[in-house]
Assembly symmetry: C2
Homo-oligomer: 643 residues x 2
């Protein structure tokens, strides 16, 4: 029996332990970092290897600190308003501009505003000058031989200025480590290449390039290498020659074609394979010919965190710097997060300041959720040996964005619609620099978030089965003690999202029970789900008979994507989602998609800007172009009084 | 009578008003910012001009989320430990690696760990698969047509990754404004050129280059232009053609050769000349051919603040960004700062966390004090219409450094010595990333700072006239209620600093009263001043007879610099200062230069590292090479008990 070869056995070493082992092993290199000479005028952002002492003083001569006249102080003694003194040019004084050298016999400057010009050769003064007044003495700013910057200092523009003023033109800095980035995998294609099924656009290496630059290294990206052992070996051999640090992307897991660990083991040493962290577990820390070689897993979020955890401190050490810890802030978690005792976990969160509470809402935790990195305001670290955090718990979050930006952000939790992106974008063009952050929790989820004081706004579209009225009954029912306003949004067309051409000839809800129809549903609490259930109930259809009823998606676009990929034959959603993926659409009816806002936030400037955008001509035009929406009473405010 | 032509009349417009006037005038340009297409892989740090929507979904196919086998879920139903199911390869299952596409008829993945391989063609499972388990559906990460990044977003590495994954290869970003930087002045020389009297090394333009880059513009520096009206006009005409924003450095004041304002007025329009800010008053805001032209004064600190105040927001607007306000923090001012009602003032401060108080100590406020920018941890802004702040007052400080770094800094206030720089530098090489910040206030000033709880440490060298003992008596006298330790430092040789060759034949204190001798003194409270006064008193010399006795410098190096420049014939100071400027030295005697530290800080890790450095072999070797010091009991700790 031939067994398929797999590296099934990953260890589960704690992050800190792995860092300790790896950096101890690299100590020899890290204590003898290469240094190079560069021109000071090109040294911005570089890190000094040694302290730098001034060669020249600045100013390098006694200099006039003002425009005026240089005089001998003794000659001016006794001058007063009652007894002005006249001075002769080139005998008693000379004219000087700021910065001009002051030399013997002159030892004071009188500013021009205090000088009365009598004729071309004569001036009059009415106040004596004290010796050395308004003269910048030699070395006032920088004295030769004083230290301008210490070692291990990252040079800023002002440092460059001071170094040049101190007569320094060349400077010794740590050499930028050359970081070889080797994307591998037969399934990857380069950006812009034709997309075919089963292919993935290679993007991790481009993220690494950017991060290497930001941390002070020099990225050296190679073309992607196919999953071919001999080829990989040849390329890795070259990369080890050509770089200081080598990053191999993907092939670090335990799949059949994951050669990386085998390669590193054969060519050098694998110190760690498998780290107690999520995302990022299959990382490899190795050394080949005394050079660090890091195997980074392929999922983009794993790739990012493994880079940040291991490659970043390594690059920073090469340029003589420790990593300053990211600024941290205390926040309240809006949802329960369950984590495993087995690993440390990095949870990306959106942050929002609601009232005086900073709320952290976890984003998609998947290792492949690139967009969770794009959208994250911070990272919540759940330590190994913790089972997670409860909703409402206070946690410490590493900030990825500026607190000012977070404070200027409307936290919207509730039903998702594409128009939220459009509104957010239009808000950016308004004064005040306000943002809209939207988390998708369904309409009811949004109302619950308002109840817990965790959102400024909940987008809702909830149909009351009894009255046929939208939204207001639900706000009365679920927020009985809260004064809340409903900002009228849009009328939205809901319908079946089906493949182009309707190949299975779906006409309505009755078709969903057919054996050949696979449905895709929305999550409980979503307005669309409630509409679906309402329509099914009305027709007396047993949901147990619908194939795929239990498959839940959290956005319209995810439903559309399931249909587009052929994994479902129908779902319920909005026209814009169907149009976006070029699918067909069978309308079911209009619904009211509105925004619930507690009264206390209604007068905040960012909410006012939000309303202004809703009412704008530009917003109207964009929606008309998109189709699927009607604007009626948009931007009007209805107060919700108790039932 | 021919009058020398001067621009005597500067206005005094408030900063905010000036910004308002200028940006209103530039509104036309700022609302039609040029946009360019760039490759996404080269777009790091660029700012999006429009929102960017995904072209492709990611993943672009349903994909295996694990290594394992793809199956039809229905076929697995009923499998259990009691009743395992056998599956046939290529009929019931296929092997898949993470990321492989999952296509009809397969609709679930079972991870390899849950699969028992029977032979090459057969596997056994003991658990049913649910439909769509361990499959990443198409669009799970990014759905085609969803917004990846909004407009006016600065692209980070993770954004680049998401854009590429979303099928975007080109992107429209705001064009980097080309910023022409024109240094002017007949007195300036380029770095590396031979220094001659009256010359100044041109460094401002290099600071501007760095700042322009940091803020997202493209610097375009010109060679320095002499103060020649026609030449300046020719060069400015070209610069206006070639750039989006033009900066003319110096020539913005009211001196005879300050042509800038005249030039801008003739070629375009001067909107503001003279701003109520210090440093930076003579700034010019002008427009030529619809392009902003900013005249920036020559003093480096003025130049920096005028750039930050006017050029920075302008550059940021060109790239579609507002400036986020600098992070601010509350601190206690350690010294009174008097400021004028007439202008806003930017005071550079050192910050230090002493106990639980954040202390702000003002640095040199001169417009020429480049080193105050290099050393600053923050900027304290004193508003126009304020007369300044009192010692002990709580103020808000804009941070220039990371708070973590500030927390890890020993705040040393007291007598200055070159060895402080050396110790600080050696501390950097120790673990823990600790810093030493030293403010020069003289020995007594340092003791007073300890008393007020504003420093961790005071370097002192105070001779008790009665006992001949150093330092301890003063700590007993001035800190009677404080438990304080004295860390023994070095024996330091004090003496006369005199010009090379001793041209005036100075032999001792008696010579200081000679008519041809100009003395330079240290400030009151400095140990060296007390030594000087002690020796003069002992000899019965009347200080009123010493020319220059009232001219006070605050450091040894400043005294040496005065002697080196010929503005003084003698001063008292340490050997190292004399050697640094190649001057002669007549020893007076040794003194004890020690470090007073309140007991409560003695056990802090950063103080322990400080002591470790004092005791190190490396420190000893450096001091031996410098000369002028003896090491006796260095690093030992003496407790000071009440007398």
């Amino acid at each position: 029996m031939r067994k398929r070869e797999r590296n099934l056995y990953l260890s589960n070493v704690a992050v800190e332990e792995a860092l300790g082992i790896y950096f101890r092993q690299l100590e020899g290199i890290l204590q003898n970092l290469p240094v190079e000479k560069v021109q000071v005028i090109e040294a911005l952002g570089r890190v000094t290897a040694y302290p730098v002492f001034a060669k020249l003083s600045s100013p390098n001569h006694n200099a006039a600190a003002m425009d005026g006249i240089a005089v001998r102080a003794k000659v001016t003694f006794g001058a007063s308003e009652a007894n002005p003194k006249r001075l002769k040019r080139n005998l008693d004084f000379i004219y000087v501009d700021t910065g001009d050298p002051i030399k013997e016999p002159y030892d004071a400057v009188i500013m021009i505003e205090d000088v009365v010009e009598i004729d071309e050769e004569t001036v009059e003064i009415i106040k004596a000058a004290s010796p050395w007044q308004d003269i910048r003495p030699i070395g006032e700013d920088i004295v030769a031989h004083e230290m301008i910057v210490p070692a291990r200092h990252t040079l800023r523009p002002v440092d460059i200025g001071a170094l040049l003023s101190g007569g320094i033109t060349e400077i010794e800095v740590y050499k930028k480590p050359r970081v070889g980035i080797m994307p591998t995998g037969s399934e990857i294609i380069e950006p812009g290449e034709k997309m075919e099924e089963g292919k993935i656009i290679e993007s991790n290496s481009r993220v690494f390039e950017g991060l290497v630059k930001e941390y002070g290294g020099e990225p050296n990206r190679y073309s992607p290498v196919d999953d071919d052992y001999d080829l990989l070996q040849e390329r890795l051999t070259a990369a080890v020659e050509e770089n200081d640090i080598i990053i191999i992307n993907a092939g670090s897991s335990s799949g059949t074609e994951d050669y990386t660990v085998k390669l590193i083991r054969e060519m050098g040493e694998v110190l760690i394979h498998g780290i107690a962290v999520r995302p990022g577990k299959p990382a490899i820390l190795g050394i080949i010919k005394e050079k660090p070689v890091i195997g980074i897993p392929g999922y983009p979020v794993s790739a990012y965190f493994v880079f940040e955890t291991f490659a970043k401190p390594l690059i920073r050490k090469y340029v003589g710097q420790e990593i300053p810890p990211r600024p941290k802030i205390e926040a309240v978690v809006s949802k329960r997060i369950v984590s495993s005792l087995k690993h440390k976990e990095y949870v990306r969160v959106k942050l929002g300041m609601v009232g005086n509470k900073l709320i952290a809402t976890p984003l998609n935790r998947g290792a492949g959720a690139t967009m969770s990195l794009v959208r994250a305001d911070g990272v919540l670290i759940i330590p190994q040996n913790s089972e997670g955090v409860e909703a409402g718990e206070r946690v410490s979050v590493e900030l990825l964005k500026d607190m000012e930006e977070i404070r200027n952000t409307i936290v919207s939790i509730g039903s998702h619609d594409l128009i939220l992106d459009i509104i957010g974008n239009l808000m950016h063009r308004q004064p005040g620099n306000y943002h809209l952050s939207s988390a998708h929790a369904g309409s009811l989820g949004g109302i619950m978030a308002l109840k817990r004081g965790e959102a400024h706004m909940a987008p809702v579209h909830l149909l009351d089965e009894m009255t046929g009225e939208y939204n207001v009954p639900f706000l009365r029912r679920y927020l009985p003690d809260m004064e809340v306003a409903l900002i009228k949004g849009v009328k939205r067309i809901q319908g079946f999202i089906i493949p182009k051409g309707n190949p299975k000839n779906i006409k309505g809800f009755e078709d969903l029970v057919r054996e050949d129809i696979q449905f895709v549903n929305r999550q409980r609490g979503a307005g669309t789900r409630m509409l679906t259930d309402y329509e099914l109930k009305r027709r007396g259809i047993d949901v147990a008979r619908i194939w795929g009823y239990e498959r839940e998606m959290t956005t319209h676009m995810a439903v559309a994507a399931a249909v587009a990929s052929g994994s479902a034959d129908a779902g319920v959603g909005v026209l814009s989602a169907a149009k976006a993926l070029d699918l067909d659409f069978i309308p079911i009816g209009d619904e009211d998609y509105d925004f619930a806002v507690p009264m206390q936030y209604l007068k905040e400037e960012m909410i006012e800007i939000f309303i202004k955008v809703l009412q704008s001509q530009e917003f109207k035009e964009i929606l008309e172009e998109m189709g699927g929406y009607k604007l009626e009473h948009t931007g009007e405010i209805a107060l919700v009084r108790r039932g």
